[in-house]
């Protein structure tokens, strides 16, 4: 495909608010995970919680969108000049030419969960939560379209953990076909009971901070994040070279045993970018620290990439931010391209025997010209993004 420019990007998560804090935490090996203190009956686990969301209400004019997810989206827009970059694109092209594709898994379901804990005597939602805007998956997409004043495509992608990686692919098609001149892509997912107790019910939640690719890993740590990028056909910045999408066609909550879908998506991304696996300097792996994902992903990486490719999961810093993970980890991949920092697997001590030489415990530094980001979702939805540094061939 014709490479696209990433002219602005930002991320807000437990490991940092904005790019500088996030890069600092990655470099220093400083995890954002903490013992679970979310909700009324916190499970014994660790979470990647963004502090201060509770103290950051939306501007009054947007109060009908009030909920944790939309607050996190609003916080995320304020960093790294992202809001200004979108406004400048809107001025440059017109609101009709700037699209929005947002990935999320649970969107503002936290508001619906809260309503059920405060039902009236008649079994109705409480007065302050009796509005449709937050009780639907497109809540955050509609909120962002409204606050950004955009009039092109505005849509929510909800394919679980691949959601916001797929937002990049869908956005790229809008640019390719000339429907839009700029696309805001991103992911926003916030902590809620559904995912904490839901993943717990599947016995996938770890009692300790997650340890991706560790031989003794014991499950995931759930996190929350808002991450955004602005894609344009031309402009300064790193480039989106390709994407690959596939389905496992195997099981709703466990990956295909040979990593069939993951390999298909990685190969398609390489083909679309017209580069070889040997050109990839860094891969931000999906690496949830669940037993099966990490084993299968490590085997696929070992089979497909040379020993010179450095691979890691950054979920030890951020937790698994689910529908926001694709965009958050795309931002981390872009930071790697900019800084030369290749993160390791934080919290992990001894790598699983399935890992090849690509998967690294510690951080490294070096030239990063091409880098990939893997997102493999629940329901067997896979998406791989491939980026190049600004100025790289």
């Amino acid at each position: 495909m014709q490479p696209l420019s990433v002219t602005a990007f930002t991320a807000t998560c437990a490991a940092g608010l904005g790019r500088a804090e996030l890069l600092g935490a990655l470099d220093a090996g400083r995890s954002g995970l903490r013992s679970n203190d979310f909700g009324r009956e916190p499970l014994a686990t660790w979470i990647g919680r963004v502090t201060d969301i509770e103290d950051a209400p939306l501007p009054a004019e947007f109060s009908r969108y009030e909920c944790r997810n939309n607050r996190l989206a609003w916080m995320g827009l304020q960093r790294d000049g992202f809001l200004e970059a979108v406004r400048a694109a809107r001025t440059r092209y017109g609101a009709e030419r700037v699209a929005l594709v947002l990935g999320t898994s649970t969107s503002s379901i936290g508001a619906t969960e809260e309503a059920y804990t405060r039902l009236t005597a008649e079994g109705q939602f409480p007065e302050d939560l009796r509005y449709q805007a937050v009780h639907t998956p497109h809540s955050t997409g509609e909120f962002l379209q409204t606050v950004l004043g955009l009039r092109n495509v505005a849509v929510t992608v909800a394919t679980a953990c691949s959601s916001s990686a797929k937002a990049f692919a869908q956005g790229a098609r809008l640019l390719e076909l000339g429907v839009a001149d700029a696309v805001v892509v991103g992911g926003v997912d916030s902590l809620c009971g559904s995912v904490l107790f839901g993943f717990h019910s599947l016995q996938l939640v770890s009692a300790e901070p997650c340890r991706p690719f560790d031989a003794a890993r014991s499950g995931i740590s759930i996190g929350e994040a808002a991450a955004f990028a602005l894609l344009e056909r031309d402009g300064a910045g790193p480039r989106l070279l390709g994407y690959g999408e596939s389905s496992d066609a195997h099981h709703m909550s466990t990956p295909h045993p040979s990593g069939r879908g993951a390999r298909l998506a990685m190969n398609e991304a390489l083909n679309r970018a017209a580069i070889d696996s040997g050109d990839i300097d860094y891969i931000n792996l999906h690496g949830t620290a669940s037993t099966k994902n990490d084993e299968i992903e490590a085997q696929a990486i070992a089979a497909m990439f040379p020993a010179t490719t450095h691979g890691s999961s950054t979920k030890g810093w951020t937790g698994h931010t689910l529908g926001a993970a694709g965009a958050l980890e795309a931002v981390i991949t872009l930071l790697s391209l900019e800084s030369g920092l290749k993160p390791g697997n934080l919290n992990s001590r001894e790598l699983d025997a399935a890992c090849g030489p690509q998967v690294q415990l510690g951080n490294a530094r070096g030239m990063v010209r091409h880098a990939m980001s893997n997102s493999f979702g629940f329901g067997g939805s896979n998406c791989v993004l491939l980026f190049a540094a600004a100025g790289a061939a």
Binding site: A115, A154, T159, V179, S247
Partner: protein
């Protein structure tokens, strides 16, 4: 203003529709065209034949209606289900499971059912479809409020034009349950499916020219009142004008919204 530089022509190579009073395309086509009356009785929930027999009854409503239309559209197009990239769209996902999850979290959070949880994701229907169809092609699962059908149709057209191949669209919503029903307004079961491509297929039903228009005061096309009443209140009811045009035959201009200010302006020519 057309957001596209040209006016691409796309083909409807397969079609399907299911709702309790429009149970399957062949009857729906005759009912929507005014050739026969709608049944007075609602049809029972479909049992998608692609699912293993043990799962047909247990499947969530969203999965049942979505898979019914998905398979019927593939058959209509004469294409194997495993061969098609697919776009699923639904305003709400499975409202019955959302009600279950929220009620359980409010009372006994530690007792959330793992099966209900993995069926609660918005992409459950798409996930079950690709598993049942043994389809490793990509799927997506979209929501855009009341305009989810239009947003799904738009992405289907984008994928078809980008990849020059047949893409399966499956749009669906179900009825809301419990306290949620007061704020998530959706009734009945409804699914609509299309196979869309820039190339004619063997069983092509219609062609349409696509323009993407923007504006403050876009008025979507309406279906005939007696037809609209058959699916009224379902959050995917905005599919009906497009589906009705195919059912009636002839040439029709249909405007389908993908957002409040963006519409798919289609001139549909039925063969």
């Amino acid at each position: 203003m057309n957001l596209l530089a040209n006016t691409p022509r796309l083909y409807v190579n397969g079609v399907a529709l299911w709702s309790p009073r429009l149970p399957g395309w062949e009857r729906a086509r005759r009912i929507l065209a005014g050739l026969e009356p709608a049944p007075a009785e609602s049809a029972p929930r479909p049992a998608p034949e692609l699912l293993p027999p043990t799962e047909r009854r247990r499947a969530p409503d969203t999965v049942a209606v979505a898979l019914e239309a998905a398979l019927a559209a593939c058959k209509s197009a004469g294409l194997p289900p495993h061969s098609l990239p697919c776009v699923f769209s639904s305003m709400h996902g499975d409202l019955a499971i959302t009600d279950y999850m929220c009620a359980t979290l409010a009372s006994t959070p530690a007792l959330v059912s793992p099966t209900k949880f993995h069926n609660s994701v918005h992409n459950a229907a798409a996930g079950y479809w690709t598993i049942a169809a043994e389809c490793t092609r990509p799927y997506t699962s979209l929501s855009a409020g009341d305009h989810s059908f239009g947003a799904g149709l738009l992405e289907t057209c984008m994928q078809a034009l980008s990849a020059h191949e047949n893409i399966l669209l499956v749009a669906y919503d179900i009825d809301a349950r419990g306290p949620l029903a007061a704020v998530a307004l959706s009734k009945h079961l409804l699914s609509a499916a299309l196979v869309v491509s820039p190339e004619r297929g063997t069983n092509t039903l219609a062609a349409f020219e696509l323009r993407l228009v923007t504006g403050e005061a876009l008025t979507p096309s309406g279906a005939r009142a007696e037809n609209a009443a058959l699916v009224a209140g379902n959050s995917t009811e905005s599919c009906l004008p497009f589906m009705e045009a195919i059912a009636r035959g002839g040439t029709h201009d249909v405007l389908t919204l993908a957002t409040p200010t963006l519409g798919l302006d289609t001139r549909i020519e039925v063969f």
